[in-house]
Structures are given as structure tokens and as C-alpha cells.
Homo-oligomer: 266 residues x 4
């Protein structure tokens, strides 16, 4: 993987989004798997305001079956856009043809796990300056993940944030196996910020808080957490969503831990 | 996976491409990983003519690193198109924006392993009538693979050919682990034709012939084999390519085996 | 793996057990997962007689939970021993302290998947001359599997038969992923006979016959198949057992295929 | 897995070994992969004294190839035994026949990853009262791991300590993928203490400290760390061993973190 010149030698710029500075302090991103309605989004924003720096929400959803809920698309983007005065937003782009509108309506463009090696999409987001959250493919090696980042940097966009979200293994008790080894390795080898998604990384809400703390202790630059105003009635990923209250408890713990680690120089 | 109505209940139409009828007899597809030049393609066509039913060749290449050879793109498509009077061709589409031109210049559109869950692309090829070869994702379960096929059928294109090409496991001696279990399972559960790619499924040319025979004995409807006029000098995948002579020996063995299996009703 | 001198340079002796010659023709081993009673074993022997060369049956069973059926132990060995005049038998040894009695009562000693790296056991069977069937660990690389064989050869026992039985992957539709790549690779690299266990390799009886044919076409030297007189009422592994009638159909197909492959020099 | 009555309902006794109380505070175990000589062991003990509660050291080593260093066996046990007045020791048993002598010479008996499903060995350690460290198999699901613990509890030994040490996945940059999801899940579901081995879990010394902190934050009850007086000249596992100085820095960080987590009730 030694040919990844940009990933390894990049003097990572400060990536600032609203009150968040990736790579400096702990950035917290929270929100629902899917944008369902304006009411739902407003409830989440109210619930996480002051705790999370950025709101996540899926408008276009990559779903295994065509009979699964596919997201509300453009309408969802508009809902996200409508709260941007309150909090910056991140949302996933699935289709290269949607990139202009997604880019216009969000503060960070998410490339999801299934698109980590969608090279046309990587090249197009590379031509923008907008920050890109690049999730690790569930089957991707560290080398492949960094190579995907290299595609974006190579096209001229230095604002890449990496996100570990669990890999696919033989273990079926958890949805994925969160790979904190990779977080530490990538932090050591590159200057890119690395955040962790323990919601997908475990697939079980009862494991999310402890794995969040583990991620912070490993050195992650941030967390992205699925939060729904009423997890049991979420249209997708209900097993792994936290309520706003649970998120707020998590956020206090994570921030306290980060603060301790910095002050104690661990 | 019981909700996959179309995949399970589809009365698969006969998918005929040139002299090949998928689902009837053994279909052989052969050609280089990457289209390099007209000379190279002509040499391959000469070398496999009369043995293979269809020519494969990559014009747009999905490559792990931006510094790897990316394919010659449109020029490659034109070279493939120029031999279609002699032999039908299959090539991969990576970008939904390229679909019109790819569709015009090939006889079968390939969705590669990394794009098996590129849902916008699945939906677009589903709106065509042109046959689609859907490779299994290297990390995809059988259920996910069939769900991807359901996307295409759901949009109205019944001409889906499945292709097992090896899955990613802990074994590193081979590039992937060819999963013939999946071939038999899918043949039993659906009416879709299933072909096997032992070139990617092993990543080692010395294993290709025996795994081809295994695939035929398992009940595969066809094989797709990487063939290069000069494997050692292939710009990509040189470890797994056969020479035309090696392919021809393989094709004779595979056809003889298929003929025996049919005559003996095994 | 180049240091495996014995595995790679061994002039494999002919391993003859009853009417079976491993490495020459196709050897068929059949029988129940667990020895349940003398009646059951006699029924199996009657059912497979003349088709299978060797009877398999578990007396000591490695079971995930202490509450699962553990096998009938010594009593099971005695039942197996009682039919050896009719057909040779193979059974698994779990405990190095049981090796003398197991060795006395069976014709081939099986080292199961979970014991492939039980080095004390490998060393002890290496001090015998009795044939040893070494199953690949469900998590073992080809290199680790051959290294385990090297332990046995190194102690002086050249009569090692390798058995591929599926590896553990992310796919959950099948119990394991049968790895025929490994069979071909090992056949090419060593002189050791390699047989295939499609019963464990698939975990589904409806897949066993086709994968058996695939294994034969790949070049396997034999098959080991779970057969129970009444599969639905088997105390263990009922999903993957064949009835004697199903086995006999399989055996005819497998032998016909092998015969064809030899006559056609495929 | 609901039938694992003992694992789930066990009122775990306090397992006390020297100054360590498993389940109360953070237990640190450190020492070389292999016992090489009395001098080496004395150097390690001097180096970790006052920081680690328990010394680890392999006398009998499970090695992939018969040509790898196999440990110095009984001599190694005697060396470990000779330092027990200074610090308690843990060492691995491979062979059920060695259990009496191992049990006599160590304070905690280790069942290694390759023996997690060596059921005769599990049953025999279950008949003792001595604490048993049960490493998770590198291919074992959480359910299989807990079932192995159930074997030991079922035989009457309640003093089981679980150890997560990484699982085998497709990622090859690290030796294993440390699965902290499993640590949190097992802590939530059982009363058994769970410690973490980041040395094997990463296979890279530069990752060990950060993953140790992650494990502590996840809620692990302890750490087991490979420490060698001269890592570069270790006869085994040199890539993952820390020097005593590096271990001591790690131990201070881990203890400070644990102290913070307890005081802040995170």
C-alpha cells in the first residue's frame, strides 16, 4: 500500500463543519437511519441539540431488497436542508446523478459502505471541495479503504473523513464486527480524521455506548450514532437506534472520556 | 428471503445471445481482463473462435488504486463493438451515466462484484431488455445476491444471468474462495441461469481448469474464463489468465463433461 | 509453506484399507454422524454394502454444548468393531488417552476439524502406522492444514489422507463453504490423497449429490458422506444426512463420473 | 444459546490470584510468549514487578509447523514455578496428560485458542478448582465460546476467566481482528470476568497500547500483554511483544483510565 502518496503524506487541512473541527476534539454526529418526516427530524434535532455537532439522516437508502423501504429521496433532502440553520447535516449519496443536489443540500457527503469502491462516485466527490465521509466497505481491507480515499484526494478534494463501521465476519450475534484495530492503524499511518459508527458496527443498541467509549479510547476523532425519537417504530435499523435521551447520556460519557484522555495525555 | 417473488417464481425466458442459449447446454465466455488494443482483441478472438460463444473484455475497469490501470474506456468499447459481427461481446458497466453507450456496444451488460449492490445501476439495467450478467459480490450472501437480481427483475428485465466468482474468506492462498455450494443452491431455488468464473474464483491459472470441471459437474450453465494472448504480459490479472491454447483444452474437457452428464442423466 | 519437506516430497505409499486404495480410483466412505445402536449400524451397513468401501460412524462426538448428545463412546467403538469383518471402519478420536482403544477398533483414525491443531494428538497418531484421515480445520488455511499433516509425517506415519470439509465464512445459508479450490491446490502440490466431505461442507442434504460430483470432477480421491437409515430421526446432523437409497444413487453417479473422467483423460 | 444455564446464571465467585481479584478492578497479566530461560524470565519479572499482577509464559507452545520452536516444556514450567513466590503465573496446557503437572506449577491454567473446543481438556480442567483462562477460539462464535465455558462450569469448576484474543477475518494487515463487541456482549450476558489480549488481537506491537485502552473503556476486567526483555530477539511472536518499559507505560495509562471510568461511573 506504499503507493498511496496522498493518503500518507497529506497534510490534512482542518475540516470544519459548523462547530465541529475534525481532527481536533471529539466530533459527535447523530440522527436517524432514515429521514421519515419533518416532524421526526425536528424531534431528533430538538433531542440532540447542544450535544451533537452534526445531524445524520438518510434520504436515499441502499437497501438489500427492492421491497424494503427505499428512503424518501429528494423530500428527505429538503427536510434536512430546512434544519441546516440549526445544525449542519450529513447524508448519503448513492447515485452519481444525484450528487449536485445532495451536495447542495448537505454539509458533508456520505459515501456508504456498499459504495466504497464505486469509483465513478469517488471520482466525482473528489472534484468537489465539500467534506466527504468515506465509510469502510464491510468487506474492505484497510488497504482498499485507504486506496478509496486516495481516489478522492487524487481528484483534488483533501477533505476526507474516514469512518469505520464494522466488517463482515462469521460472527452472527452482532450485525458486524467493529474493527478498532483498523482505527488505530489508520490514525497512525495517515493524517486523515477517523470516526467510528458503533451503531452499524454492532447492530445492537445495548452495545453502542460501551463500544463508543472504546472507540474514543482507541483514539477516534468522532462518533456517528443512530438516534431516533422512537426507536421501536423506526422504519429501518430499529435494533440499533438509541433514543435522544440515551444518546445524550452517551455523549456526556464520551466527552468526559475524551477530556480525560487529553488532559492525562493518554 | 421468501419475499423474492420474481427470482423464485420467474419462468425464466430463454436468454439467447448469438449461438449461446443460457440455461440450455454449456455456455462458454472467454477473453481478456482488460481490452488493451485492437490487435490484442483480434488475437483473442482468433484464438477462441469456435470454442467460446461470447467474448469478454473490460473497457471500464474497477481498480483498487487510482494508480492501477483504469481501462481504455470508450476506445475499448469500440474495439469490442468492431468484433461483434464475429462473436457477441460482454463488458462491464461501472457508471450509470455510461449505460447507454455500453448497452449499445455490447450484447450482455456485466454488473461486477463491487457493484452488486449499486442499486441505481441495478434499477437502470432493469429498465432495459438487454441481458445482464450479475456477478455475486465478493462479500454477498446468497440472499443478498438474489435480492440484487430481484431489483433487476422488478424493474422489468427478466434477462438476468447470475455469476458466482468467489467470495472473500480468510484463505489467502487463493484470491477468493469459489463457492460452488451457492451455485447448486441457486440452481435449485430459481430458474435463473448461473455461470461460474473460476478465474476470479481462484486467482491462479493452474487451478482454473479443474475448478471449471467442478463447476460443470455441480450443474453450472456456463463458464467465464480470462484468456489473454500472452498472459505474462497482461496489463491486469496476469496470474489468473489462460492462453488461448489452454482455454481450448479446457473448453474441450468442459464440453465433453457436460455432454457426458447430460447423456448419463447425472 | 516451503519448509514442509515431507508433505511436498513424500512419495506417498499406497494406502490400502479393505477394498479401497486411496489415490487410485474413487473411495467412498459412508455412515452415520453418530453410532446410535447396533441395529442402526447394521441397517446402514446393509444399506451401503457393495457401494461404499468404508463405514464411518462417530463414537466420541465433539459437540458445541455439554447438553448436546456426546456419543456413546466405547460402546459405539465395539459396535463398529463388530462389523469390521464385513466392511472396514473409520471413527474419530478426540482424546489422546483414547487413542490405543480407538486405534485397535478402527481401520482409519479420524482427526476431526476441531482437532486439526491438537498437536499432542497429531504427534501420537504420527507414531502409529494406521491410516489417519486429517480433516481440515473449519478455520484453517491450506498452509496450516498441510503443516498439521507434516506433524504426522514427521513422527513417522506416512499414511495420511486429507479431507476437505468446508470452511467457516460469512455465508449462513450453508453450514460451511466447501472449498474445492483447496482440493485442487493440495492435489497439485502434494502426493497425499485428498477426499471431500460434502455433508459437512454444505450442511444440507439436498446439496450433497451435486457437490459430490463437483468434488469428483475437481479431482478428489474420494468422498465421505453422512448416511442414516432414517435421517429425520438421526440424533445429530439430521439436516445433512442421506438415506441409504439416496447414497446409492449418489454413489452410482459419482463412480460413473469418475470412470468417464479417467477414460477421457480429463 | 439460551440453554447455557451455568454461564448465564452463575453467581460468579470472586476469583482471587495473588493480588488480583478478577471482576474487581483491572487485572494486568504480562510476560513472554515463550519461556526461553531462567534469565529471561527473571528479567521480565524484574521489569514488570509492581505493575503486572500475574506473569504469563508459554512452556508448551502450540505451533503451526513442527519445525517451529515448540517451547521448552517441563523445564519452562519449573522456571515459572521458581518465581511464584514473587508473582503468580499462568501458562497454557496443550495435552490432557500434562494437566497434573501444569496444574501443580501454575496459578491459572490457560486453555489456548486452538483448544477452545478440545472437549476432553475442557472436561478435565472442569474437575479442578484452579482458575482457568479460556481463550476464545480464533474462529469461534460468542455462542461457541460460552458453550465451552459451560463445559468447564458443568464439571464443577466455577473459576472461569474468559479472554478475547481476536478472531480470524479477511483483514490481513493485522494478525487477527480484536472483537470488542464480544467483550461487551459477554459482560452484559454473564457474570464471568472477561479479559482482553491485544497482543494476539492485533499482532503488531505499535497497536497494543491503544487497543488496551479501548478494551478497558469497553469494560474489560483485565489485559494480558506479551512482554519480552528484548522483543527483537524473542524466539516467537516478536512483532507483537512490548519491552518492559513499554508495558509499564501502558500499565499506567490503563490503570489511570480504569480509575477515571470508575470514579466517573462511566
Amino acid at each position: 500500500m506504499d503507493d498511496l502518496k496522498l493518503v500518507f503524506n497529506n497534510k490534512s487541512p482542518m475540516i470544519s463543519v459548523g462547530s465541529a473541527n475534525f481532527g481536533q476534539g471529539l466530533v459527535l454526529i447523530a440522527g436517524p437511519c432514515s429521514v421519515e418526516s419533518e416532524t421526526q427530524v425536528r424531534k431528533v434535532v430538538d433531542g440532540i441539540y447542544g450535544r451533537a455537532h452534526i445531524l445524520r439522516g438518510g434520504a436515499f437508502k441502499p437497501r438489500t431488497s427492492p421491497y424494503d423501504f427505499q428512503g424518501i429521496g429528494l423530500e428527505g433532502l429538503k427536510i434536512l436542508n430546512s434544519v441546516r440553520e440549526t445544525i449542519p447535516v450529513i447524508s448519503e449519496v448513492l447515485d452519481v446523478r444525484d450528487l449536485p443536489i445532495v451536495s447542495e443540500m448537505v454539509d458533508i457527503i456520505q459515501i456508504g459502505s456498499r459504495n466504497m469502491q464505486n469509483f465513478p462516485l469517488l471520482k466525482e466527490v473528489g472534484k468537489l471541495k465539500k467534506p466527504v465521509l468515506l465509510k469502510r466497505g464491510m468487506q474492505a481491507t484497510i488497504e482498499e479503504w485507504l486506496s478509496a480515499a486516495e481516489y478522492i484526494l487524487y481528484e483534488g478534494n483533501p477533505n476526507v473523513i474516514l469512518c469505520e463501521r464494522g466488517i463482515r465476519t462469521f460472527e452472527s450475534y452482532t450485525r458486524n464486527t467493529l474493527d478498532l484495530n483498523a482505527v488505530v492503524a489508520v490514525k497512525q499511518k495517515t493524517n486523515l480524521p477517523v470516526i467510528v459508527d458503533p451503531s452499524h458496527g454492532t447492530g445492537r443498541s445495548e452495545l453502542v455506548t460501551n463500544l463508543s467509549l472504546a472507540a474514543v479510547a482507541a483514539g477516534a476523532d468522532g462518533l456517528i450514532i443512530e438516534v431516533h425519537p422512537d426507536p421501536k417504530n423506526s422504519v429501518s435499523d430499529k435494533e440499533q437506534a438509541l433514543s435522544p435521551g440515551e444518546f445524550n447520556t452517551l455523549s456526556e460519557k464520551a466527552k468526559a472520556l475524551r477530556c480525560f484522555l487529553e488532559s492525562a495525555s493518554l
